[in-house]
């Protein structure tokens, strides 16, 4: 059955939408045995979704499957579960570690595939009571580690390992599977030091020499160029460029990654320079321990009345900044607001200082899902500023009329689609929920507003409205706004200046009128 002329992997006309939201369109990818394919693109370009389809992840099936065809060795396949993909010889190393912390490297490498020896009890009660064959386990683990060409001790417990070794353990686990033909590495170098990353690249080359094909996803473009045979650049769900790595350079890839219709970016007239504005918030030596979004040593000055954008690739730390300052995650360093220091790790103090935060986690942090819009809009202001309350002697009542009025005002202004101010927040669509979050923050009438991922998961029309509302809020009330978003174009539409966070640090601050290429270079400059 096996057709030797067919490439190892062919993906043809792959399409995928999440509830009508097209995330992949007509993807065609071909990969021969032993080839290394670099897959690059901004966040949300569709890389992860494509790999999830290939690996048969549950989330794809649960959201209605995909269109198109995947061929492995010339045979059409459709994986219903990752286990089927594994059996067919596809291995995947995910961004998050999937290791048992208290087990040794060897135990993790052969997890649930441990060689065992039968005994009397297992003859009666079944193979799960076979005793483990520790000697063979460590032998097979060592073999897998050798395949990578790095030195890791198989008896080392995972929780004692440096991050790089954990990453290698994950890869060794995939390599220990005899049937492995194709290995997908999803940003494996994101957590590695320079040296470890170099070792990983070497091991990718040695895998490829052994006939294992690799799909390598990374934001570090020079790695792609040094190790890959072909580079595929994705943007907005399309493959925009496929070329041999030899013919490309970092600048070119960056341009393909971010450079969409550059004309649509901020019109210069809209971007203000505020040379005389005083600094309203100054951040010094900030570190934030937000899992997956750690930042350290952030120095940043925010000018009064401006809209500052904070951009950067996912996992580089841009979300850590507002979450740390507002006290939602453990943080250290100093933050001064209007010349007064703000105590970290205490959300209430921040709110008292007239700071407000629209969280990226709207359902978890932002909204009271089971309550009415009125409650959602007025809750913060009521709790923190004693607004919308009436006092009668000893008792305090809610001022229902004032609450209704303010809610109706925002429903009108932000064009929130709902049946009325009494509707429950959970019944609204994502975009409208986002607007309610904004209304909630606006109702606080803050001096300073953090807005985190304001347009995540909402459609184009709603996006424009949300950005417009932010801009108006800034212009009319002189509120300083900091917008954090992974979509650069969106930042360029509404911000005056944009700071790019890369590798947990501020890589640079540029006016929004700067070319997207310049931003792209900053984004990948310090990726670690």
């Amino acid at each position: 059955m096996e057709n030797n002329n067919a490439p190892l992997l062919e993906m043809r006309n792959i399409k995928k939408d999440f509830f009508g939201n097209q995330v992949l369109s007509d993807i065609n990818i071909t990969l021969g045995p032993g080839e290394v394919l670099g897959l690059v693109g901004e966040n949300g370009a569709g890389k992860s979704t494509l790999m999830k389809i290939l690996f048969g992840m549950d989330v794809i099936r649960e959201t209605g499957g995909y269109e198109g065809e995947i061929r492995l060795n010339g045979q059409a396949v459709k994986f219903a579960t990752p286990f089927e993909a594994l059996a067919a010889g596809i291995g995947m190393v995910h961004q998050e570690f999937s290791l048992i912390p208290g087990f040794t490297a060897a135990e993790n490498i052969l997890l649930n595939r441990e060689p065992t020896k039968p005994n009397i009890v297992s003859q009666v009660f079944g193979p799960r009571l076979d005793t483990l064959d520790y000697k063979t386990i460590s032998q097979r683990a060592d073999q897998a580690i050798d395949k990578m060409g790095v030195k890791i001790s198989g008896d080392m417990v995972i929780s004692d390992m440096p991050v790089g070794h954990k990453q290698f353990t994950e890869i060794a686990r995939e390599l220990s599977k005899d049937q492995l033909k194709l290995l997908i590495l999803d940003e494996p170098t994101a957590v590695l030091t320079e040296k470890e990353a170099e070792a990983l690249l070497t091991s990718i080359r040695s895998m490829s020499a052994q006939g294992i094909s690799v799909i390598f996803i990374t934001h570090r473009l020079h790695e792609i160029l040094s190790v890959c045979d072909t580079v595929v650049v994705m943007r907005d769900g399309y493959v925009v460029k496929e070329a041999p790595a030899k013919e490309l350079d970092v600048q070119e890839i960056t341009r393909w990654m971010v450079g969409r219709n550059v004309e649509s970016a901020a019109s210069a007239a809209d971007v203000r320079e505020l040379p005389d504005a005083k600094t309203i918030m100054s951040i010094r030596k900030l570190w934030v321990d937000m899992p997956g979004e750690t930042v350290r040593n952030i120095d940043l000055d925010i000018k009064e009345g401006e809209i500052l954008g904070i951009g950067g690739l996912a996992g580089q730390g841009k979300l850590g900044i507002p979450n740390g300052i507002m006290g939602l995650y453990e943080a250290g360093g100093t933050v001064e607001f209007e010349g007064k220091p703000i105590p970290l790790n205490s959300p209430r103090k921040c709110l008292d200082a007239s700071l407000a935060f629209v969280s990226e986690d709207r359902r978890g942090v932002g909204l009271l899902l089971d309550e009415s819009l009125e409650w959602n809009v007025a809750f913060g202001a009521m709790q923190i500023q004693n607004k919308f309350l009436k006092k009668f002697g000893l008792f305090t009542w809610r001022d229902e009329r004032a609450i209704r009025a303010v809610t109706d005002k925002y429903i009108d202004e932000l064009k929130i689609k709902c049946t009325g101010s009494k509707q429950k927040a959970k019944e609204l669509s994502g975009g409208n929920q986002q607007k309610v979050c904004l209304a909630k923050a606006f109702a606080l009438q803050p001096k300073f507003l953090f807005v985190s991922e304001p347009t995540r998961g909402i459609d184009v029309g709603a996006k424009a409205l949300v950005l417009e509302a932010l801009k108006r809020f800034n212009r009319e009330f002189g509120v300083t706004v900091v917008v954090i978003s992974s979509e650069l174009e969106e930042l360029r539409q509404c911000c005056d200046r944009i700071a790019i966070v890369s590798g947990g640090r501020v890589a640079g601050i540029l006016p929004a009128t700067e070319s997207s290429e310049a931003f792209g270079t900053l984004m990948v400059s310090q990726v670690v």
Partner: protein, 375 residues
């Protein structure tokens, strides 16, 4: 450098992690002269209680290994053991054969109850302890239904000495005179006035060996994996739910055996209350031995049983010597049990919390180091 740091804190850690056993050693040392017991009497009592309780305590180890915490649901196994004993007493099968038969009968009942409990606990992942605690209350009601109403009416009970005068239901106390200490006396040897129940200890030793062996099996490895990270285990193809159910079933069966060993030593049991506190006391004993919610060894079980019962032997006499009231001992027993469990639960949570803030601390440290290097 890193290794050095860990070894520096390790002495403090050692004391911190073993604070509970150390405290109990101190209590026992204080009570010892006050109680004024002869060493022979003390040893005799201690050996008897070790034989009586250790098996029950060992039943707790497997759920802890599977990451399900302290299995308050071991009470279910105790109930199964009691039902089996009632039936065997009614059939008038005496001595060792009676004990063995009771154990055999308890197995299917334990498995059934264990399956029920395990399935429920899978629906309450992360809250196993409080759930199992209340399952044991709930099943206590079912036990009462069976023993108080069904036995004698639907389940045939032949001997009226067992039944309540009304004709169905079991009397408040079931006498096990026919099998009292049969297990303990067989092969027992006397060393300097101390009776050692060799057979009981042999049975306990076999269970220990089984547990040690079990850790090295595929199933044991799976349980340890499930305990540490269910998602990773599931991604690796381990059937997490099934593994957890097996852990509970095993614990329940062992608890059933343990209850039979416990009751044959006592010689009779209060039908409706023998099992109610057995879970609490066993768990307290294990914790006194230095175990925690996520880690427990056979050593913890033995140390715990020794210290916990040493205290119970000494406390009443010591209490009488100080206050003139022997009730203080019984009071102490309950007080200490609940206290120890509470402390263990709090330590479990605070340790999780500590691990969390540790990462923030490391981050601040890394930043400082970096600054120093920059200068």
């Amino acid at each position: 450098m890193k290794r050095k740091q860990t070894s520096k804190v390790s002495l403090k850690r050692l004391l911190q992690d073993n604070s509970v056993p150390i405290m109990f050693v101190l209590i026992c040392l204080v009570c010892l002269p006050l109680a004024g017991y002869s060493p022979a009497y003390l040893l005799n009592e201690l050996v008897t209680r070790m034989g009586r309780n250790t098996f029950l305590i060992l039943a707790l180890l497997i759920p802890i290994m599977a990451g399900m915490g302290l299995n308050f649901g071991m009470t279910l196994g105790a109930m199964a053991g009691e039902i089996a004993l009632i039936l065997v007493v009614d059939w008038q099968i005496w001595g060792i054969p009676g004990i063995i038969l009771a154990m055999i009968i308890s197995i299917p009942i334990s498995i059934l109850l264990g399956l029920f409990c395990g399935n429920l606990l899978n629906k309450a992942k992360g809250r196993e302890m409080v759930t199992s605690y209340f399952i044991s209350y709930f099943m206590n009601g079912v036990y009462q239904l069976v023993v108080l109403f069904l036995m004698g009416s639907i389940i045939p009970i032949m001997h009226s000495t067992l039944k309540l005068p009304r004709g169905y239901g079991i009397r408040n106390t079931v006498s096990l005179l026919s099998m009292r200490q049969q297990l303990d006396n067989l092969l027992a040897i006397n060393v300097g006035g101390v009776k050692i129940p060799v057979l009981t200890f042999l049975i306990i030793a076999v269970l220990c060996l089984v547990i040690i062996w079990f850790r090295r099996t595929k199933l044991g490895q799976d349980m340890r994996a499930v305990a540490q990270d269910m998602n990773v285990a599931r991604d690796a193809g381990i059937n997490v739910d099934r593994t957890r159910i097996i852990a509970i079933v095993m614990s329940t069966v062992v608890a059933g055996f343990g209850m039979i060993i416990y009751l044959q030593n006592l010689g009779n049991f209060p039908t409706y209350s023998a099992h109610t506190q057995i879970g609490t006391f066993s768990i307290a004993a294990l914790l006194v031995g230095g175990a925690s919610v996520e880690r427990a060894s056979i050593g913890n079980a033995f140390l715990g049983v020794t210290l916990f019962h040493m205290m119970f032997i000494l406390a009443p006499e010591a209490g009488t010597a100080i206050t003139g009231d022997s009730m203080i001992g019984e009071y102490f027993r309950t007080f200490v049990s609940y206290g120890v469990i509470t402390v263990a639960l709090i330590m479990y949570e605070s340790r999780k919390h500590r691990a969390k803030s540790q990462t923030g601390y490391l981050l601040a440290l890394a930043q400082k180091e970096e600054e120093a290097r920059a200068k």
